[in-house]
Every structure is written in C-alpha cells, then in structure tokens.
Symmetry: C2
Subunit: 146 residues, 2 copies
Amino acid sequence: MPEVDRIDLKIIQALKRNARISNAELAETVGTSVSSCWRRVRALEDSGVIAGYTVQLDDKQMGMGFQAIVHVQLRRHAHDDFAPFVKAMHLQDEIRACWATTGQADYHLHVVCADIDGFNRFLDEFLFRMPAVASAQTNLILRTLK
Amino acid sequence: MPEVDRIDLKIIQALKRNARISNAELAETVGTSVSSCWRRVRALEDSGVIAGYTVQLDDKQMGMGFQAIVHVQLRRHAHDDFAPFVKAMHLQDEIRACWATTGQADYHLHVVCADIDGFNRFLDEFLFRMPAVASAQTNLILRTLK
DNA sequence: CATGAAAAAGTTCACCA
DNA sequence: TGGTGAACTTTTTCATG
C-alpha cells in the first residue's frame, strides 16, 4: 500500500486544479523544496496513485450540449453478447462513463451528444441494436453541479 | 463558435491520453510542425475548448474502494436550503459528480468512499443532515467499465 | 496573413554534498 | 534532503512563402 502523507495530498489537490503547473510552482504551493517535490510526484506516478494526466474539455464549446444518464438492463443468459457490449462501451465516444450497478438497472451510462437528435440516433442506431441490451430508461441531465 | 478541424481533434485525442506529452512529440503524433501545433493548442485553450488539465487518480491505490450512484430527491419549497446544498456538493470530496436530472430523482451523484463504513458515514453524517435533502436511494457500483 | 525556423526564457531531472 | 547544472521544452520573435 503506497504511503500518501499530508504534502502528497496537497500535491494531488494542486495537480487536480492544474496538471501542467511547473514543478517549481508546485513546490512553492505545497511548501517543500523543488527536489523533494519532484521526487514525490515521481513516487506517486510510480506507485500508481497518479494513473496519468488528461485534458478537461468543454463539451458545450465542442457542440456537445446534450447529456443524459441512461439506465440499461441486459438480457438474461446473453453471455455470448456480453463481450461485444463491453467493447462497444469503450469504442462509443458519446459514452463518457459506464458502471455496472446493483438495483433495477444493470448498467448506468453517462452519455454526451450534440443534441436530442444525436441522442435519438445514439439510442436507435447504437444502444437498442446491441443484442445484449434488453431495455433502457433515460434521465436527461439539466445541469452539471460538479 | 470555435472551429475545430481534423488536426485539432487529433491533438485533443493525444492530450486525452497524456496531457503532459511534450509539444514536439505532440506535433510528431498529429503530423504538423512544432510551431503550428503549439499555436493550435494555444487557440484551443483560449477559445475554451480545452478547459484545463488534470491528474487521473487511482482510487483503489488511495484506499477508496467503494463507489455508488446515489439518487437524491430534494424537499419541495426548500429554496433557502438550496444554495448550501450546491456549496456542500462542491466541498465534499467523496462526491465526484453531481447532475441535476429529470425523472424520479432530482439529482444523481457519483460517490467514492474508502469502504461501506465510510459510505454509511457519508449518508448519516453528511447527506441526510442536509436540510434540502428529502430522500435518497443508492445503487452500488460493482464494476467500472469506463 | 499564416507558417516554420531559430533564439531567449524557463523547466525538468540526474547527480553529488 | 536540498542545491546545482546540463539537457530539454516552452514561448517569443522574426524572416519567408
């Protein structure tokens, strides 16, 4: 289990806000020397606590103004159709997150599309064409608080 | 509306995979000159398509092995309690995402805790103590596909 | 007016006290 | 652990198509 202390947590907080901050500025922010800070970041990367760095995109700026939570039920005994379902989840760009869950739905998807027409195409031409999918319910996202 | 062409999309794809790639390598990957690539990244940042850069953390490595989707209903006419609710969503570290949605639930939360005890504390000591919250249902996350 | 090359400023990362 | 500096990267400037 990798040890993560108070300073490591401060480093993580700062990198969450801006992953492209320079090491000198990061050291200043968390109150440690440049060398020590650099070694800590390295250690967090090596231990796997930091899995990587990514870009935050503004979906609206990219013309992706429609979001929804889709609750999906799979067909029982659809074992042969399951692997293609998993693969498709990964390939489909509109699907931002896919979780297997307890409860009424087997899967919760976070879906991002250009508009309601795009979402309609996503359902008709992709989701309901998957042999593994039995049914799905949609909750539109009105506002993203976080 | 900012123009985003094929090369911009390639840049975005590459930065999604690794936001800390050097500009020279990025230019090589997308097949353009270093200067041109740098100006494109700048333009994507300035236009707001790129909102920022962040770190991807491995929750399990950090001892956060429990995840759930929580469906929250607010009390009607709880107008005075709403602003504190929004603020609390932002402050609470366990809450990774919070969406206002249509349907039975008013809000969908993605929650990450250490274990089921931590989640129990999250519900008892935080969520059910919010005056704005009327009720909540939980779906445990069994597996994250994406 | 956009592009690329190249100089100037700043950053990373291995090494040593 | 903290400081130093060579290698590398970013960002500005300038000449060219």
